[in-house]
């Protein structure tokens, strides 16, 4: 199969994830969208790996998965903490970092 299809799929997934991050305000959904983007990247990595013919890209994809898992742990932990403190679960409302 031609490499372009993989890249197109990957780009579509990435764009969906990015759009989700930009338009949704719930942190849970944003985390999901982030995962989507990361996996879009993974797809591209694996596709290129097959095209080139070695395993480096695949190994890199595994590393990305590990990072994604960690990120989800931290992110979900934050979300639970926000929830416990009865703060609004809305990223636009949490803007203490304004300079």
């Amino acid at each position: 199969m031609n490499i372009e299809w993989y890249i197109v799929l990957s780009s579509l997934l990435f764009a969906i994830g990015a759009t989700g991050i930009l338009i949704r305000r719930s942190p849970v959904v944003i985390l999901l969208c982030l995962e989507l983007m990361l996996n879009a990247g993974n797809l591209a990595l694996v596709a290129f790996s097959r095209m080139v013919g070695n395993q480096q890209g695949q190994i890199f994809a595994i590393v990305v998965m590990v990072v994604a898992a960690c990120e989800v742990v931290v992110g979900l932990g934050l979300i639970v903490a926000i929830f416990r403190r009865k703060l609004p679960l809305d990223v636009d409302a949490l803007r203490e970092l304004r300079g």
Partner: protein, 669 residues
């Protein structure tokens, strides 16, 4: 013990006294501080005498010794020793300084008794004596400058002694600033000497100078002119003299010690000490002599109209130092130094008498308000007349011999120098008039209220202390004499000091009578043996003719003063009316203060203001605030991005990455 060992002791005692009094000001009783101060200076004087005896035991040619205790500074091939130089000149100065200082300490012991700052006063005074002795004993130019700067500082500290007085602190600052201008000249001269001769040591400098310099070469002239800047500033010669009359804001013993007898004569000593250089630069020496002449005449004319008792005596001091400068500059070294000594006697005495009268007047210094003190204060007036006679060069008093010797030498040198003789005698005439103007205004006549009170009840006038210059109330809590005043009639130490000085003023001249004895000049001769000018001597008969002229002039001056101020007291007022322009001119001190203000102070201030307005505001402030604006503006710009909206960060990130990716795509294809 050797002469140098005694000389080290001479330096040790006053320093020790100063430190002990300064550290012990809380525990020492008032009288103990005064006693320590006076005793240490007395011991200093005795050590000076011992040094003199030990010098006299040697042959005249061998009477110079250098000694150093340790290195003062040793850097980059330059080794300056903490060294002293003992020869007849320095020992002579030590004796004059320590002798007069001891008496003035004794006087202060009584005079300053009820002053709040008694310990501070004696500590300063002892430190002054130390500094002055360091100045005269220094063995190289570096130590000379150290002593020179020290006396300048102590002078400042003592002028501003009553530091709650605005006028006093101002006068102190003025004296300090003017002196520092001179110090700069002295320091530059020392640099130049080191550049040309490679050493600071006196003995080497004076030995090398004739081999290195040609007569009137520009370098040696420059050195001498720079030295003269220091001399003129310290010795209150034109145009650096304006600080001296203002220095009379200090306590009277200070005026007597520092601003009459010792410190202001440092310039005379410096010229005598560096005569080897001045011989090589006759132009500079002539400039010094003419400045001295101008000063002696200008100051004498101002003294004729001054109504402030102490300021009038201060102008007389300037005038007499003018004589000394003329003397040592034209080559009459012995005579100049002799006049320094006699002047120290009679001028210190006059100031002491004036201080006693001012105390009786409750700090009033205006002679218009004084009269009749002859009956009220017998001892003070007798000593004042003694001092006045010596100052006016009354025949056979000390000033008579010393002043005429300078003028006789100028005559013997002949040529252009006859001007000094002629104008010097004219100055002597003015001296006699202004001296006896003071005496006839203050002593005879109907007693003023303060004098009357003294006659009637023996009480010294006590008023709430006011500053005579401004009329404002004095702050007596910190360092002002307070309501108590002390006069010589009621204080034994003051009387002793004045009596000794009166003796010196009357008979001090007898140690150097032309043709009879020549003690001072003979003693100093070895120091000046290398100067060709020292070989010139007025013949004895000419000296006596000069003395004859001098006595006629002195008597004439006293006669004129008697006629003007006793016989026809209405004449001075009429003269003042008739020549009011001249009087105003003299009364405003030839407008020297105003001229300096106009020529130096105002332009400097204007430059400062201009620099503040233009350079400071636009360039410096522009640089600083410009930097601040750039940083602040940049910060404000960047702050906008930090909105706190996580989603906008994400958008920026995405757009940024997209842009980057686009850029690389486009640039790679």
């Amino acid at each position: 013990m050797t002469a140098t060992a005694w000389a080290w002791l001479v330096l040790l005692f006053p320093l020790l006294g100063s430190i002990v009094i300064a550290l012990g000001f809380k525990v020492l009783p008032v009288k103990a501080a005064g006693a320590i101060g006076t005793l240490t200076i007395g011991l200093t004087f005795l050590c000076g005498v011992a040094a003199l005896i030990s010098l006299l035991g040697e042959s005249p040619e061998a009477r110079h010794h250098a000694s150093s205790l340790w290195d003062y500074a040793s850097v980059a091939g330059l080794n300056i020793k903490l060294g002293i130089f003992v020869d007849p000149l320095s020992v002579f100065m030590v004796l004059v300084v320590a002798g007069v200082s001891a008496l003035i300490h004794l006087y202060s012991f009584g005079y300053m008794q009820s002053d709040q700052g008694y310990h501070r006063f004696f500590s300063y005074l002892n430190f002054f004596v130390f500094s002055m002795l360091l100045l005269v004993l220094a063995g190289n130019f570096v130590l000379l400058i150290v002593g020179w700067a020290f006396v300048g500082f102590v002078s400042y500290a003592l002028i501003s002694f009553w530091y709650r007085r605005q006028t006093a602190t101002r006068a102190g600052m003025k004296a300090f600033v003017v002196n520092v201008v001179g110090d700069i000249g002295l320091v530059l001269a020392a640099f130049l000497i080191f550049r040309e001769l490679g050493t600071f040591e006196y003995s080497q400098v004076f030995a090398k100078a004739p081999q290195v310099f040609h007569t009137n070469e520009w370098t040696v002239t420059a050195i001498c002119l720079l030295l003269l800047a220091g001399v003129f500033a310290k010795s209150a010669q034109l145009p650096f003299h304006t600080w001296l009359p203002d220095a009379m804001e200090g306590p009277t013993p200070v005026s007597a010690l520092i601003h009459a007898a010792t410190m202001v004569t440092a310039g005379v000593y410096l010229i005598a000490r560096t005569h080897a250089l001045f011989v090589l630069a006759p132009t500079a020496a002539d400039i010094a002599a003419f400045v001295g002449l101008a000063t002696l005449l200008v100051a004498a004319t101002i003294a004729l109209v001054m109504t402030d008792l102490k300021r009038a005596i201060a102008y007389s001091t300037m005038s007499q130092i003018g004589y000394m400068i003329v003397g040592v500059s034209i080559g009459a070294y012995g005579a100049g130094m002799f006049h320094l000594m006699t002047h120290a006697f009679f001028k210190a005495l006059l100031f002491m008498a004036a201080g006693s009268i001012i105390a009786a007047m409750a700090n009033e210094q205006n002679i218009d308000k004084m009269s009749g003190f002859g009956r009220a204060m017998r001892f003070t007036s007798i000593t004042m007349v003694c001092g006045g006679l010596a100052l006016a060069a009354f025949p056979l008093t000390s000033g008579f011999f010393s002043k005429d010797e300078i003028l006789a030498y100028a005559g013997a040198r002949g040529g252009m120098y006859l001007i000094f003789t002629v104008l010097g005698y004219f100055g002597a005439f003015l001296t006699a008039i202004y001296t006896f103007r003071l005496i006839f205004r203050v002593l005879p006549g109907k007693p003023c209220p303060e004098a009357q009170e003294l006659i009637d009840s023996g009480h010294v006038a006590h008023e709430a202390p006011r500053n005579p210059a401004t009329g404002e109330m004095e702050d007596t809590e910190v360092g002002f004499p307070g309501a108590e005043h002390h006069i010589a009639e009621q204080s034994l130490p003051m009387r002793i000091a004045m009596a000794v000085l009166a003796f010196g003023a009357l008979f001090g001249g007898l140690i150097q009578i032309p043709g009879v004895d020549n003690i001072v000049a003979n003693f100093l001769d070895p120091v000046f043996a290398d100067s060709p000018l020292a070989a010139i001597h007025p013949s004895t008969s000419w000296s006596w003719i000069g003395l004859g002229i001098g006595s006629v002039i002195s008597l004439a001056g006293i006669g004129v003063a008697y006629w003007l101020y006793v016989v026809r007291p209405e004449v001075p007022a009429a003269l003042q009316q008739r020549f009011s322009a001249v009087h105003t001119f003299l009364y405003n001190k030839w407008y020297f203060d105003e001229a300096i203000d106009l020529l130096i102070v105002r332009p400097t201030l204007a430059i400062g203001r201009f620099a503040n307005r233009v350079f400071e505001r636009f360039v410096v402030d522009g640089l600083v605030s410009g930097t601040e604006d750039i940083v602040g503006g940049g910060g404000r710009l960047v702050r906008v991005v930090q909105s706190g909206f996580v989603r906008s960060y994400a958008l920026l990130l995405l757009v940024g990455f997209a842009g980057l990716a686009l850029y690389f795509l486009l640039s790679s294809s």
